[in-house]
């Protein structure tokens, strides 16, 4: 062995301790879980929105040439095009009767978005089309109930807004096809009804705000609250590290032994350490708060004009002085809880170095709620995540920011009560630990550890009981840690597998970007392309994106598979393009047309002929699915 390898080996042995490996693995798990969480939120945000439509009866438009258009049918077809089974579409696009207060109606129907057609919508369109003068365009109103969720919370309302925009385009295309050549109508034909921010209402905390989109509120809320979870996380980690390190160095220098034999109460030692660290924590907190607010102000300023200046005070959700006082109390209790945990962890630290490793569980506990609150928000999280988040005491000041804004005092006070109990229990445990041998002897002498060693037959045979090796077995300890690390690896691998598999299964991938973009990936251009043109014409247009296409006469869709791994074939009415992805095939959905069954022309080309169903525009989706149904 060369001198260099000898040194490298020794350094690696010191640096790659089971503790440090375990901490890296836990971080990997945390980020894998985080990826899953964000992915889940993105999926949720991308998922088809559930919304209500009111006055849908008024959405019928019948023109003089007999052609018909209907708003509800349009939405129906969009969802059908996104592979939603026909019988389930009613769960997504709910027909709502306006029986009273709009917001009560929304709550009763369990919807956070409602599209309301103006009464007489269809008649107004028909009148305009028949050349009647003095009739204004109808309006499509949008109503939203703002829900405080994480980063992507407002995206589904964006989708509803874009659906209304597409409804306008679709009606416009329908009207243009049947319109008379009257230039004065062009503006009407392009925009047959009014919609948008002017006709939009968002209810925040029971207060109606017109012209403010939920996403504008979400961005205003997040820009003013985002830094709080980050600051809390930093304070907790910093204060925790101070206390644990202080315990570690007291043990290393044996000053703790001296301290414990002085005529001082154990509670005074514990409380003294906690108070000192809490003061340092508050000083750090204040410093970070000031620093971060400068940082955020400078960073957000150029953006605020783009996002639209939404004042939280105008929306009635700004924090009052009482709210701030409650928030400070919640933060203080979170710090005390953190210190309680640290005192317990610190009691097990053998020295300064092991104390540093001990801060890891605390850091994870502080990061987890921060990510949850930032990405999905308390209100947008599932029951399990909510349970875990609630159990971590540091979550509560993070949750409290939004809860206080939206008047959910029950949650805030439940959190405070929980933290009081948690802190009391932690301090009691600490005082008990201070009265036990563990503080002096460490974990190596505890009954549980000895039992574990005995059970694992790790105790060296024939060793004398009182030899130094018998007091602390480094090898046995390492073996124990290796078992723990192995367990962590298995759990991490399982977690990663779950996260990876989550992306497979029955996910639908839309490659031509129909109306509803679900995900555009993997199989797009390198597997097949799609051409659209008139029957018999060689002049075909490559379709690569876009929701609606003008259909000139008798169109034909030609599907050309570019790099299939084998011959394309038919499976029922679906075209199978073999790919490296097992069971993948392509299906073409033409919702408002009648399409013939596809015909396979050669190993790479399939043709589908279809007739537009009285409409000049076709919403089309081509989906790659990987489940066999």
């Amino acid at each position: 062995m060369t001198h260099l390898t000898n040194i490298v080996k020794k350094e690696l042995r010191e640096l790659l301790t089971p503790g440090s490996i375990a901490s890296v693995l836990v971080m990997v798990m945390l980020f894998a879980g985080l990826g899953g969480l964000i992915g889940g939120e993105v999926d949720k945000a991308k998922a088809l929105p559930v919304f209500g439509i009111a006055n849908w009866e008024d959405g019928d438009v019948t023109l003089e040439d007999g052609s018909e258009w209907d708003a509800y049918t349009y939405f129906y077809n969009v969802y059908l095009g996104a592979n939603v089974p026909a019988e389930e579409i009613g769960n997504y696009v709910k027909k709502v009767e306006l029986t009273g207060d709009i917001h009560d109606v929304m709550t009763e129907n369990g919807i956070s978005a409602l599209v309301v057609l103006e009464e007489g919508f269809g008649e107004m369109i028909e009148s305009r089309m028949s050349g009647a003068v003095g009739i204004d365009r109808p309006v499509v109103y949008e109503y939203y109930l703002y829900e405080p969720t994480g980063m992507f919370g407002s995206v589904s309302s964006t989708t509803v807004s874009s659906l209304v925009a597409l409804l306008s385009d679709n009606l416009s295309a329908f009207l243009i096809k049947s319109s008379i050549e009257d230039k004065s109508q062009y503006s009407f034909l392009a925009h047959p009804f009014y919609y948008g921010d002017k006709y939009l209402n968002t209810v925040v905390n029971g207060k109606e705000c017109s012209g403010v989109t939920p996403q504008a509120i979400a961005s205003a809320v997040s820009s003013s609250t985002m830094m709080i979870p980050i600051i809390i996380m930093i304070i907790i980690m910093m204060v925790g590290s101070i206390v644990i390190s202080s315990m570690g160095s007291e043990k290393e220098n044996k000053t703790l032994e001296t301290l414990l034999t002085l005529p001082i109460r154990r509670t005074s030692i514990v409380t003294g350490k906690i108070i000192a660290a809490a003061i340092v924590g508050l000083v750090y907190g204040a410093a970070y708060m000031v620093g971060m607010s400068f940082y955020m102000t400078n960073m957000m300023n150029p953006l605020s004009s783009v996002a639209g200046d939404v004042s939280l005070a105008d929306l009635g959700i700004a924090l009052t002085l009482t709210d701030y006082a409650i928030l400070m109390l919640s933060m203080f209790l979170a710090i005390v809880c953190a210190l309680g945990i640290c005192m317990i962890l610190g009691a097990f630290a053998k020295n300064y170095k092991s104390a540093q490793t001990m801060t890891m569980p605390l850091s994870i506990m502080a990061m987890l709620p921060m990510f949850v609150i930032m990405f999905s928000g308390w209100y947008g999280s599932g029951m399990i995540i909510k349970g875990v988040t609630f159990a971590i005491p540091f979550s509560h000041p993070m949750i409290a920011v939004q809860s206080l804004m939206f008047g959910d005092y029950t949650l805030v006070f439940a959190g405070i009560a929980y933290m009081v109990v948690f802190a009391a229990v932690a301090i009691l445990i600490t005082v008990r630990l201070y009265g036990s041998d563990i503080l002096i002897t460490g974990l190596g002498q505890s009954k549980a550890v000895q039992k574990f060693r005995k059970g694992r037959c790790l105790e060296p045979r024939g060793e004398h009981l009182s030899s130094p090796r018998a007091v602390f077995y480094p090898d046995s300890m390492n073996k124990m840690l290796i078992v723990i690390v192995a367990a962590v690896v298995v759990v991490a691998a399982a977690g990663a597998a779950v996260v990876l598999l989550k992306d497979d299964g029955k996910q639908v991938r839309d490659v031509t970007n129909g109306v509803q973009l679900v995900a555009q990936q993997n199989m797009s251009d390198n597997l097949f392309s799609l051409y659209l043109g008139q029957d018999g014409s060689s002049d075909m247009t490559l379709i690569d994106a876009g929701g609606t296409f003008d259909i000139p006469g008798n169109p034909v869709i030609v599907l050309v598979a570019k790099n299939p791994s084998g011959d394309i074939s038919l499976k029922g009415s679906k075209i199978v393009i073999p790919s490296t992805f097992e069971n993948d095939y392509v299906s073409i959905v033409l919702p408002n047309t009648s399409a013939d069954a596809p015909v396979i022309q050669d190993s790479k080309t399939a043709v589908i002929k279809f007739t537009p169903n009285g409409s000049a525009a076709v919403n089309m989706g081509v989906f790659v699915t990987n489940y066999d149904s």
Binding site: N253, E257, D437, S446, L465, A470
Partner: protein
Amino acid sequence: MTDALVLDDVHKSYGNREAVHGISLTVKEGEIFGLIGHNGAGKTTTLRMISTLLRITSGSIQVYGYDVAKEPDKVRELISYLPEDAGAYKDLTGRRYLEFIANFFATGAEKDAMVQKGIEIADLGDRIDSKVDTYSKGMMRRLLIARAIMPSPRLAIMDEVTSGLDVINAFEIREIIRSIAASGVTVVMSSHNMFEVEMLCDRVGLIDHGNLVLLGNPEDLKAQYGAKSLEEVFVKVIKGAEGSQ
């Protein structure tokens, strides 16, 4: 003479392993008592039990009549424990450290007098105002001895008090111990240095594998084993114990 320390059938177990198997001994007031034994014999465990740091598994320890398990706070008012290789808070100066400790025992003029006494015992000159982390091992030990003695404890417990010190420092510390014992303070100390124990201690106890195998004053023990030094007694007893096992 008052009994300063009474150990009665003291056992200490760590899980299933018993480190101390029923030690009984009595130390009189003003006596210097030495605990000797090889590494891991149970000396430190015994001293820690006397100092209220470790719980006693069974048996009892009394310090000036106060039970260590039942009245630890009372016991802590009477004792001063100096652990082996102990340190002080590195960011403090020697003087500040002595003040920090004195604050637990006295206030006002009484406290100032206590600190002054500590400074005199430590005898560090100007360096008393230097930070502790600049001290040599000998200086650190003098500061800690001063810390242990300045509150005038009635029982001083010292674990390997001169280990690793040079001749001069070790000598001076032994002198300090002698002088405090002369003033009536009871001293219980452990050491590997048999000559030190022989010179300093009125009585010694030899611990082997958690058992008290020998107890008496050094002169009597030497006569009993026909040995020239306490070291020879130690070797004979330990070798004899190993031979009989």
